[in-house]
């Protein structure tokens, strides 16, 4: 145990030292200075990374080394920032302690991950090291120990560490997504890992359930369901899946959006008048304030990260467009001017842009709107692409698309690059919501 602990500390110190070196001195690795500058750009060159099978140090399952290295490759590939290099192209001599960087360099990889694992009784221990191949230096070292069940979690955590080193922010490899699926024949709320794996049905209402939205704490999902007659709002407790009804007023109780921090929500209610208006309600459904007035439809609120502004959809101009309200003054301005159907606004975690869906020629595409200059950028092409939501670090967008027929969930980089499908379930999937980062990071 002791040697391991010492090694871990040494690696950690080295890793932190190296990273701090980049940050403060702006020094050496051309790799990381480049990467941090334009990682989100659509033309950014992907970072090539080679991940040989983890080495089995003890009595662990022999095939596991390959399974875990492939999972790490898959995670990094999903982020869109990395290009995997086939480890079979390495022709040097395997050396666990001192990697043959010259030979690894010949594979074309800029980064190398080496790792090992061992089973200790009922426990499991894995060791990961990330090297800059050109510099021949250790960038990051982590040792994880836990139960056999935690194997994949360890890989996801190291993937998050790599992204942290690259971007200064933890990624999304330990997050989950919620969405609507018709797998059972009815619209129910489902849960899955960030990459669509480990899906799990959360509601069994046998009704119509819609619009799931993760709370900022990750402990609840707000959603709409017809299970008690008219569309009403519920909070689904996680874990456990118990459903709590919070608004069952006459008419519509729809379109939940959590206020930052999770103490309240903006929702759309029609009450007795029949027109949808946006209200801020407490967690038990009590109305805190009414936010919109008028004869037009106001729906789909989305808070800015600081809670001072709210984007929403209104047809006050004659068709659905996106507006932004300064909540304190209720001063409201229209921000979309192209097309006659702009909906699904969602604020980026950094607050600098809004993603939304816009219709042209009967088809929808995802756009982002840069708030500083009002410039809209189209990110998708083909099929209907709707219901965008940002990853917690703001670097990816999750959305639904019919580009391959039935509606399924897809992800892409903020730039629109690396679009990939992540759900392959029966039925159709809609309205995804990307859950927050786990607090353990």
């Amino acid at each position: 145990m002791k040697p391991n602990g010492t090694k871990k500390n040494r690696l950690l110190v080295l890793g932190i030292f190296f990273w701090a070196g980049i940050l403060i001195v702006g020094q050496p690795s051309s790799l990381f200075s480049r990467a941090t500058i334009d990682i989100d750009s659509p033309t950014a060159k992907k970072i090539s990374i080679v991940i040989p099978d983890l080495i089995n140090l003890g009595s662990g399952e022999p095939a596991l080394g390959g399974i875990l290295s492939q999972l790490l490759s898959k995670d990094l590939d999903y982020s869109g920032f990395f290009q995997g290099v086939d480890p079979k192209t390495f022709l040097g001599k395997e050396d666990e302690k001192n990697p043959d960087f010259r030979a690894w360099g010949l594979t074309g990889a800029e980064l190398l991950v080496k790792g090992n694992y061992q089973t200790t009784g009922s426990g499991f221990q894995a060791d990961f090291r990330l090297y800059d191949v050109q510099q021949g230096r250790l960038l990051l070292g982590k040792q994880y120990s836990g139960g056999a069940r935690d194997q994949k979690k360890m890989v996801h955590r190291f993937a998050d560490e790599i992204l942290y080193l690259l971007t200064g922010e933890y990624g999304f490899f330990q997050t989950q997504i919620a969405f609507v699926s018709t797998t059972s024949g009815k619209k129910e709320i489902y849960l899955a890992d960030f990459d669509g794996s480990n899906f799990n049905r959360l509601t069994h209402h046998n009704s119509i359930s819609l619009s799931p939205r993760w709370s900022p704490t990750g402990q609840e999902i707000a959603y709409t369901s017809y299970k008690d007659g008219n569309p009403s709002l519920y909070l689904l407790q996680l874990p456990g899946g118990q459903s709590l009804r919070i608004s069952h007023r006459p008419g519509l109780n729809i379109s939940p959006a959590w206020f930052p921090g999770g103490e309240s929500l903006a929702v759309a209610l029609s009450q007795s008048g029949g027109n949808s208006e946006i209200y801020q309600i407490g967690r038990t459904g009590n109305i805190l304030q009414r936010l919109t007035y008028g004869a037009a439809i106001d729906v789909s609120p989305a808070w800015s990260p600081d809670g001072k502004q709210m984007a929403f959809v209104s047809n006050r101009s004659g068709n659905p467009q996106i507006y932004i309200m300064q909540v304190a003054t209720k001063e409201t301005r229209r921000v979309t001017f192209q097309g006659n159907y702009n909906v699904n606004p969602v604020w980026s975690p950094k607050g600098d842009r809004i993603a939304y869906a816009s219709m042209a020629g009967n088809h929808f595409d995802i756009y982002t709107l840069a708030l500083k200059n009002g410039e809209a950028q189209r990110l998708t092409f083909g099929g209907n692409n709707e219901s965008p939501d940002f990853s917690p670090d703001g670097r990816m967008i999750l959305f639904s698309s019919t580009r391959q027929g039935k509606s399924a969930l897809y992800v892409m980089n903020l730039s629109g690059a690396n679009q990939r499908r992540i759900t392959f379930l029966n039925g159709e999937q809609f309205s995804p919501s990307w859950g927050p980062k786990k607090s353990e990071n």
Partner: protein
């Protein structure tokens, strides 16, 4: 002897005496019947039994018929109710894309609905607002509500008591036609009427 010996043998003896008394009584009746009416009397008894059985059968038959009549009446009532409901429920009011304004043809349909409701003062209607598949779930829920509301307000303006009409929006959640073309979309943009 019987009194003194309260044993199994005593019980047996008592049983024997009772049996013989019973046999004696039967014998007496048989003799009596024979003596009074002879053979036809026996047939008469048989006939009575047959008559009773027939009567029971007739009663049962009658009961079945009444049940059938009741069921038939219920089915007819249900058919009448369904036909009546169908007359009211089968005709939808249609809307333009992203609109909840009532067209002249929509108003003509609503005029018929209002007359129908006036003729049946006990009928209550639920108006469902629906949209086509295009656009967001939430905006369509709001739009469907507007459509249902527009239809309801028109009926109220024609004199229908507000307590007799209510609304619900299904947005794009209950498509009448699952197609992805203008013909399907036009069928889906509707207010649908249901008797409560």
């Amino acid at each position: 002897m019987v009194k003194t010996k309260h044993t199994g043998l005593g019980w047996l003896l008592a049983l024997l005496i009772l049996s013989s008394l019973f046999l004696l009584a039967c014998g007496k009746q048989e003799i009596k019947t024979d003596g009074l009416t002879g053979a036809p009397g026996g047939e008469q008894v048989k006939e009575d039994d047959a008559e009773k059985a027939k009567k029971r059968a007739r009663i049962r038959e009658q009961e079945l018929t009444e049940q059938q009549l009741r069921e038939k009446a219920l089915a007819e009532e249900e058919a009448r109710r369904q036909a009546m409901a169908a007359e009211f429920e089968n005709e939808d009011v249609f809307f333009e894309f992203d609109q909840f304004v009532l067209s002249d043809s929509a108003k003509a349909v609503l005029n018929k609905k209002a007359k129908w409701l006036k003729d049946r003062p006990n009928a209550k209607a639920l108006i469902e607002g629906h949209c086509d598949e295009r656009g967001s779930t939430e905006y369509n829920l709001a739009l469907g509500q507007k459509r249902a509301e527009a239809a309801m307000q028109f009926l109220i303006a024609l004199g229908i008591n507000p307590s007799r009409v209510s609304t619900i929006s299904f947005g794009k959640e209950k498509l009448a036609d699952p197609g992805h073309n203008e013909a399907a979309w036009a069928k889906n943009r509707r207010a649908h009427f249901i008797l409560k």
